[in-house]
């Protein structure tokens, strides 16, 4: 139980509770179940993609192309649906995942085989993928009436009051919880980020791991692309512009070390949820739209500082405890 308090995730959890309490004191309707369901809906896609981003950051990389590849796979899914309405929905989902995997593996190959630093690779593919969206759609949009009913309604289908969008993201969370915590490859991801030399000594294939994380992140992004386009019933060339920074922010708030080696899925999901709550709360308590950005920025910095300070304090506690043992 004492260990719980020492976890970064726990700090964040307390911080979230604190915000929920503060906001609901001003606006009781914030606490309605419906509102939380909405927040879940809003953060579902972000948490999914942030998990992909997490894996890459844990290996010491970064992916700036998630926004663009999300747009590209989403646009492909929408166009496919528009021109071939007969294709069943699960095929479209599979195809958008496949496109995402492909885009991710391009990143992965460039990083692992051509040894280009991840930030440069993805900075480049960010422009390339975004450019391909323009090429693909020729500047036009795919709008609601051009999509089939099944396509548009997929993320909204709900069971027990919770939409399939949320179920999909929960599924992703569980899958990757298992992957990262209960498989060798998953743990090797942490190894690579923690110490490249050491991971070589224990026989971890660095290139393989780098390739895997970028490809998996691409796959998640591809799925997210379909969900995004279906949810907003619009595929545009500007879809998800700037989304990469949101996913990175979710990771950073969630306590992922930006230099690699540590970070948990629970932390990232909490980080995404935190961002969703802040956004939702700012709207709920009628903060002027002009204030929202500044407050978000302030809260991000504040959360990061608190996180860092608490973590340092905890480590010092551990050290002190150790010296007593000796």
């Amino acid at each position: 139980m004492k260990d719980l308090f020492r976890k970064r995730e726990f700090n964040l959890f307390i911080f979230i509770l604190f915000i929920i309490f503060g906001v609901s004191w001003r606006t009781p309707s914030f606490l309605y179940i419906n509102n939380f369901v909405d927040i879940l809906n809003d953060t579902a896609i972000l948490s999914m993609v942030a998990i992909g981003q997490l894996m890459i950051i844990v290996t010491g990389g970064i992916d700036l192309s998630v926004g663009s590849s999300l747009a590209l796979s989403g646009m492909s899914a929408a166009l496919l649906n528009q021109y071939h309405p007969g294709i069943p929905i699960f095929m479209i989902i599979l195809i958008s995942i496949a496109i995402g995997l492909l885009l991710g593996s391009v990143n992965g190959l460039l990083v692992s085989q051509a040894k280009i630093p991840p930030i440069i690779t993805t900075l480049g593919t960010m422009s390339i993928y975004r450019g391909l969206v323009f090429v693909l759609c020729g500047g036009t949009w795919v709008s609601a009436h051009e999509m089939t009913e099944v396509f548009r309604m997929f993320p909204r289908k709900s069971f027990l009051g919770i939409s399939s969008l949320v179920y999909v993201s929960i599924l992703i969370v569980i899958l990757f919880l298992i992957f990262l915590n209960l498989t060798r490859t998953g743990r090797e991801i942490y190894g690579v980020g923690g110490n490249k030399v050491a991971s070589q000594y224990v026989g971890i294939n660095l290139k393989k791991i780098q390739y895997i994380v970028f490809t998996l992140c691409g796959g998640i992004t591809g799925l997210a692309g379909f969900l995004w386009v279906a949810r907003y019933a619009a595929a545009q060339s500007e879809t998800a512009i700037g989304f990469e920074l949101q996913t990175i922010a979710a990771c950073v708030i969630g306590g992922v070390s930006i230099t690699g080696g540590s970070g948990t899925i629970i932390g990232v999901v909490l980080g995404a949820f935190f961002m969703g709550i802040v956004y939702n709360a700012l709207t709920m308590i009628n903060v002027s739209p002009f204030w929202q950005m500044a407050i978000q920025g302030f809260i991000i910095i504040f959360a990061i500082i608190i996180n860092t300070v608490m973590d340092k304090r905890n480590q010092q506690l551990m050290l002190r405890k150790r010296s007593f043992n000796e």
Partner: protein, 327 residues
């Protein structure tokens, strides 16, 4: 270990040949630059027109001026993604001052001061709490631009003194050389000298290579990083003056998305994103390459291909019989 080092030296000596000189990073960039010029002049026969060439520089010199301190930031192993937001913030403060009747000189002072303060704040949080720069500037990126939105809302500042237009719109005498361009070259010489000819520059490289070792060698690591972030803020403030003067108005969404372009420029210029390596000439060439292109799919491909070249060459090389040397 000694042996390996001496081996590397031998390799370096062997490297000096004409082809290897051609394959220097800066030469490759220069080559790309010439290709860009030729393609552009094919697309438009007027491209090489002296006046046009000079006028085109208006569009990227502000970014270039921020790229200069960004070289230091990245060599240090840090990154600053809040620079574009600092531009917006400084511009808003200048707008407020101008509205209150402050003269041109005062506006310049305010622009520089607010930029420096913002940069200093970044540096302070980064060094004081030991948080990675990308995390802090990710937050301050929203914060600074957010403050600009708070102050300005959906309005714009449009009233600037007539003499303020000098910085971003005027030329030196009647040479058709923009003031901005001259200012950039002066700054480039200053920053280049500091980076390559002073102990401060060497310390920056030392920090980027191994900050712990640098610390133990008596280099005040955090103070230097703090200075660099403050200078980056200062240059962002300067860029803000130029941009505000050039477009003669301020909106909170000014310079939106510039940070990635600036970082791309610096990285294409051969500065290692992992820190510790880079030089100013490469970045200057890269500024002009990207400047004469417009950020798009071409730049993306260019970036990846250019960075890939050295590795590609290594790949082409047949594996020697001694096997692979792993580090």
């Amino acid at each position: 270990m000694n042996k390996e080092n001496s081996v590397l030296d031998l390799k370096k000596i062997r490297k000096i040949s004409l082809l290897n000189i051609i394959w220097q990073w800066e030469i490759i960039l220069l080559f790309i630059f010439i290709i860009v010029i030729i393609i552009n002049s094919n697309l438009s026969p007027y491209f090489l027109d002296y006046t046009n060439l000079m006028n085109t520089t208006f569009n990227f010199i502000e970014k270039a001026i921020i790229a200069l301190p960004m070289i230091f930031v990245i060599i240090c192993g840090d990154i600053d993604i809040s620079v574009a937001s600092i531009i917006a913030l400084s511009s808003v403060f200048m707008g407020m001052a101008s509205q209150a009747g402050v003269n041109t000189l005062g506006l310049v002072a305010i622009g520089l001061f607010s930029g420096t303060t913002a940069g200093f704040l970044n540096g302070f949080i980064i060094t004081k709490f030991g948080i990675p720069a990308i995390a802090v500037t990710l937050g301050s990126m929203s914060l600074f631009r957010g403050i600009a939105y708070v102050i300005l809302g959906d309005k714009a500042f449009t009233k600037y003194p007539a003499s303020f237009a000098f910085f971003g719109q005027e030329y030196i005498g009647n040479t058709m050389i923009p003031f901005e361009l001259v200012l950039f070259f002066i700054l480039a010489i200053i920053f280049g000298t500091i980076l390559h000819k002073t102990t401060f520059g060497r310390k920056v490289f030392a920090i980027g290579n191994n900050s712990t070792a640098a610390h133990f060698s008596g280099i005040p690591v955090n103070r230097i990083r703090l200075i660099i972030f403050a200078v980056t803020g200062l240059c962002s403030g300067l860029a803000s003056i130029l941009l505000t003067s050039r477009i003669g108005s301020t909106r909170p969404n000014i310079a939106y998305g510039w940070e990635l372009e600036i970082i791309t420029t610096v990285v294409l210029g051969g500065v290692a994103i992992t820190g510790g390596k880079g030089n100013i000439f490469g970045v200057i060439i890269s500024i002009f390459i990207i400047g004469f292109l417009i950020m798009n799919i071409v730049v993306g491909l260019l970036l990846i291909l250019a960075i890939m070249l050295p590795e590609l060459l290594k790949r082409l090389k047949p594996k020697n019989s001694f096997g692979n040397v792993k580090k």
